[in-house]
């Protein structure tokens, strides 16, 4: 067997259709979790098989593909997934956020604002936002149906009472279109405001848990928050990227022999900002 007899996009067309149907339903019901028959992929579960299946059933030969992990195009898992997708589709790859038509991501939303002709595909480990308070699937479905999120609110209450704010650092629950509460995948709180009213289509794929959900373009997305409390994102005030000097972006904290350093998490942003700086100088 050689790669020549692997079809475009790895899957057979029926598999792609099934996944697209799940995506259509997900788009029609913003924030609602749609089950799908997650296929076994040649990379392991938990490594992005959900996002990969979404990307492979959306992609055409005209697409430009960008894959990031922690904001970084060069991260090993991103490289690996990109190599795989390119090898089964032959599409063009890019690291430039504005050029990409499909961006598959793990743990970050790109710093560069997205546009209408782009799709952001998230890799999702835990699609079900209620898991922390209710592990039983049947009960979870009932709670969504009744828009009963009291238990999530109680968790928020408890943390606020004991720690002053929620202890949730990433995967902060969001209310989509004023209805379903949804897990936004493990992005930092810093990225939560970017989900709302975004011109791009955002699709979330969870391979291991066999679920797909979506935020259609220009949809209202709010963090689950008491109305008399501010939603506080990660604070990098007074810090800047040591490489490109950017402020107001998400920074990686790196511990080295000579102490703690900060760098842009979004490598495309860092590279372009560095070029602009040099161009200006």
């Amino acid at each position: 067997m050689t790669t020549d007899n692997i079809t475009f996009g790895f899957f057979d067309e029926d598999a792609k259709k099934e996944i697209r149907r799940a995506m259509l339903k997900a788009v029609a019901l913003p924030g609602y979790i749609v089950p799908f028959a997650s296929r076994e992929m040649p990379i392991a579960r938990g490594w992005g098989t959900g996002g990969l299946q979404v990307t492979l059933s959306l992609i055409t030969d005209k697409d430009q593909l960008k894959i990031i992990d922690q904001g970084c195009d060069g991260s090993v898992n991103a490289v690996n997934i990109r190599d795989f997708i390119v090898s089964v589709t032959g599409v063009e790859e890019t690291t430039a956020t504005p050029d990409a038509t499909i961006i598959q991501t793990r743990h970050r939303v790109p710093e560069y604002p997205l546009s209408e002709n782009q799709t952001l595909v998230y890799q999702v480990p835990y699609p079900e936002v209620l898991t922390t308070v209710e592990p039983d699937t049947a009960r979870q479905k009932e709670m969504h149906a009744n828009v009963d999120y009291a238990k999530l609110w109680v968790l928020l209450y408890e943390d606020t009472a004991q720690f002053g704010d929620s202890r949730i650092s990433s995967r902060y629950p969001v209310v989509v279109n004023n209805h379903y509460v949804m897990d936004p995948s493990p992005i930092p709180k810093f990225d939560i405001p970017k989900l709302s009213d975004n011109p791009a289509l955002q699709i979330f794929g969870a391979g291991r848990e066999k679920r797909i959900y979506a935020i259609p373009p220009y949809t209202d997305v709010k963090p689950l928050k008491f109305s008399d409390r501010e939603f506080a994102i990660e604070d990098f005030s007074g810090k800047a990227c040591e490489r490109c000097g950017s402020e107001d972006v998400f920074l990686d904290e790196v511990h080295l022999d000579d102490g703690v350093h900060f760098f842009c998490s979004d490598t495309y942003h860092c590279d372009t900002h560095l070029k602009e700086d040099r161009g200006a100088a």
Binding site: P125, T132, P135
Partner: protein, 354 residues
Amino acid sequence: MSYVAIKGGAEAIRYSKDFFHSELDDAKSISDQSLVKGLRYACDRVMSEGALYTETLAAEAIRKTGGDLLEAAFYVRAHRSTCQRIGSAEPIDTNQLRIKRRISSAFKDIKGGQILGPSCDYVIRLFSSLKSSDNTEAPLFEETDIPNIRVESALTPLRRDDRVAMLENEEQSPFDVTRSFPLPPYPRSAVMQIMARGETGSLLAFGYTSMRGYGDVHPTIGDLRLGEADILFTHPFTGNRVKIGSIRVTACETVGSFNPDPKDGKLRLAVGYGFCFGFNETKAISMSVLDLAMSHKGYSVGGQAIAANPEIVVHHVDAIESMGFTNHFKLPHYVTFQADLQVLNNARKNNDDR
């Protein structure tokens, strides 16, 4: 005339055993070398679950059992019972491993660097090879001597900052589960030993319940390392410290959520630890998640989660035991079953009469 199989099994058993061995005849031609070097992860599992570091006997066990790794580990365990104990080696500090692979998913870069080492993490699991830019003919990796890299845990800076909860050492000396079995409350050293000897799949299943929502959700791997550890021993006659060999091991530190430390009420991160013989990342990670769930309270206040219950973990991760018990159901049970039937018949009779 049908015959009643009551006794006379001795001969049948002998034939059955012969049959079994003859089925595996082809295994005899597989060398120790092919197994230890070529099927090294199989050997590692057998050593780890067999709880004895012995590559050649692991290879021998795999041959004898036709590659049934649980049965092979069972051979090693049984052999272990025959070994005389000369003494105890010094504790291994896994900070001092000669590193072959060391990664941390908690930080982008760490002191000593992310060392990918040999790993199948990024292997595309297809029988065919894919067309890819880096798919060149020449091998990228040339066998060189592994340099003596020693690096501290990636969590050490957080420990120095007092951001990691340190458990009280409540034990004078470690419990030895091979000499006695603990009663609750189970000492942590005993639970750790049981897990280090435990079966990969069982640890994985219990650890996975915790990751999927029945307990502390989403652990972060603070430091996962594979490497060689020197075994130091004080010579019983000369009294000198001597290195008696080195073993390949896997160690993992996993970070959970933070909570008020019972010691002083300060907020600190909870960390779990996993360790096993040989290279087996799945096992070490699973063990560290279970240690995290049992030794610290995460989000799951109350501790009813399966993975947080030492009673469940201690008694259900040793597959030599669970496999033995599962298979014992093949033994004749006709006396007890006949008694069961009698009870059923009496109950039915009682209900029908009513």
